[in-house]
Symmetry: C2
Subunit: 394 residues, 2 copies
């Protein structure tokens, strides 16, 4: 234990669950024996190895159950970024010459957009659809983009910045009827709202553990049987040849426990997040009368609120509230100085995007924290004063 | 805690350190705060994020120091398999059309051989050198294989199955003078014996945490400045664009602590392993008079002993000693039924290879465990009796 560390950050109000969630203590407890007595390599054919393999297979069952999948269709990876890469690069590599068109949306995570850009530079054709101003992708728009050479559609289940959901079932039905593969980046959706790969005709689903109270460094890709896919790593042939490398047993076991917990507590977690959201919106509106909410009004994650505070610079506000952990851009893009590509894609101007904040919360957030957070924001905004960029620019 | 688990495996003698080492309790202690209070995303620009980033940067310094590198030349990955893939695929992708010849050795890990096979199928030419019967690669043999279009030489620092070392300094000097890149898979070497990337002219070095008392799910690739290399993952541009994805902060912090510990305790660890090896060889020779030792007599890891017990089937012996965790093949190849490619490459016949066992041990192994292990093997061999395959085949 680093005593300085915990004492320094114990008084921080953490409202950045979409960047990473706290680890549920029950997850840590499930992992503990696999760090110590059950530390074997799951590929070893002796008792410690078999115990480790049992732990991973049990976790595989739990992760599969969370999304209505079969155990054997879950591939463990190092996280959702790797899962997205495996889904997109792996399917492209396995799919030959005839279908080289892929469709995605401008509000996707960089872990999809950057991979597709890489495929674009290798001769694939990428269509990037623009959603409406709430971040909503209309299935009709998608239908119009599908061509005879379309290989795959990649649409995230829920947006990490504004929380808008995708019409996953409609997209799945459409893709299935058109004979196009459907990859869904479920990093922000799975564990927060119900997902069923069969019901939604999802062929590939990326899952992250550390966005659902599980450990960092582990994720999964659901791959529907018979989906053409090649590995992006080689060496050893673990995970049915799709992902080589010693399995991260403790993290996988923790992932399994996290999946079990979000599964059994989903109704409670959802209700709690809705309650917090209601409170947060009310109190923010009281503090900032001209508050604007980004994202869809109903098709949205309960635990994400993205707001614009007109004429208040988001980053300055963030810096002025050191006790408050929130995001002013996407936390996943390290040191990118430009405003969020998501906010720009839904029609926010450069200036408006810089006036936006993302608050995300969940299982361990309390109403008192929400109250204190709004108070901190209000006080900081009072101290900072409002800017009028247009005037300042003149 | 799973009480059954720890009670079931507490009485196992673990001599499979090359598959994975136990986690040093001090590593777990260093990780603990990053699982709980300091759980932030290291890319977030708020206090919890900054604390997480500080933890990773401190660990980067420690891992770099272990191999004489600069902090900024260490890229964190999910493990040595990914590091090998990044080194080989990444350099190949960045290196254009003129140099498409790579050289490796038949005794490399599958995480190198399989990657090179994949490059082979993409039009690269791969030369696989055969070492001598001790697993030793003569620098002269390597020198003769280097051509004007050779891009890279990939040679492991120490063999995972037989423990034979490579003449790393000679290889590095040779590669440097020929203008060829040198990738070293250091998964089994780093942390066990001193390695200095500058002294050995190593351009790319793969490092694993869970082979040096650190956590699973994390590794590193050292990349010498100006080495042409492309990422194999996309999305977010973490790790200076070379490895996207949320950093596995607790594991990276644990990796740093593990690096610090193997660095400060290397002399003691080496002496301890040499002592155990001496004891193990003596007692095994007493129990099995016709024992044969695989691997180099002097250029070898102290903590690895690979032996042949003539006319005793290794896997049967392994099955007959459930309290003993040892390897009969390579533990990293999941469920591969054929005998080790390493033993075949050093000239062992198919039958001989099946009579081989790998015992690997380290920091936490006691002389009493070595004594008990040999006793268990001896008793099991007595029970099993010896087979004579040639007669049985007739």
């Amino acid at each position: 234990m680093t005593p300085t560390a915990s004492s320094t950050y114990d008084d921080v109000i953490y409202l950045d669950y979409n960047a990473t969630t706290p680890l549920d203590p029950r997850v840590l407890e499930a992992m503990a024996p696999y760090n110590l007595s059950l530390f074997g390599n799951s590929a070893s054919r002796h008792l410690p190895g078999i115990a480790a393999a049992d732990g991973t297979e049990n976790a595989r069952e739990l992760v599969a159950a969370l999304v209505g999948a079969q155990r054997q269709d879950i591939v463990f990876t190092s996280g959702a970024t790797e899962s997205n890469n495996l889904a997109l690069l792996g399917v492209a590599a396995a799919s030959g010459e005839y279908r080289r068109h892929l469709i995605t949306v401008a509000t996707e995570h960089k872990a999809v957009l950057d991979v597709l850009a890489a495929l674009g530079s290798r001769g694939y054709e990428i269509t990037v659809l623009v959603p409406d101003r709430s971040g909503w992708l209309s299935p009709d728009k998608l239908a119009a983009a599908i061509r005879s050479d379309t290989l795959m559609v990649s649409v995230m289940g829920a947006n990490n910045e504004i929380g808008t959901l995708a019409p996953v079932k409609n997209i799945g039905r459409l893709c299935r009827s058109e004979g196009v593969l459907f990859h869904c980046d479920g990093a922000q959706l799975v564990g927060k709202l119900p997902v069923d790969v069969d019901e939604s005709n999802i062929d590939l689903l990326s899952i992250s553990a550390h966005k659902m109270y599980g450990p960092k460094g582990v994720g999964a890709l659901y791959v529907r049987r018979l989906t053409p896919i090649s590995p992006i790593f080689y060496g050893g042939g673990h995970e049915r040849g799709l992902r080589s490398g010693t399995l991260n047993v403790p993290a996988i076991v923790g992932f399994g426990m996290a999946a079990q917990l979000v599964s059994s507590e989903m109704q409670a977690d959802m209700a709690h997040a809705e309650e917090l959201r209601r409170q947060l919106v009310l109190e923010l509106q009281r503090a900032f009368s001209d508050l604007e909410i980004n994202g869809h009004q109903t098709a949205r994650l309960p635990g994400t609120l993205n707001v614009r505070l007109p004429r208040i610079d988001g980053e300055s506000l963030q810096l002025a509230t050191p006790r408050l952990a929130i995001a002013s851009g996407s936390a996943c893009t390290s040191a990118a100085p430009e405003p969020s590509h998501v906010l720009r894609a839904i029609g926010r101007t450069w200036d408006e995007a810089q006036e936006c904040l993302r608050l995300s919360y969940g299982r361990f957030t309390t109403p008192t924290e929400i109250e204190s957070a709004v108070k901190l924001l209000y006080e900081a905004a009072q101290r900072l004063g409002r800017t009028n960029r247009k005037e300042a620019d003149r």
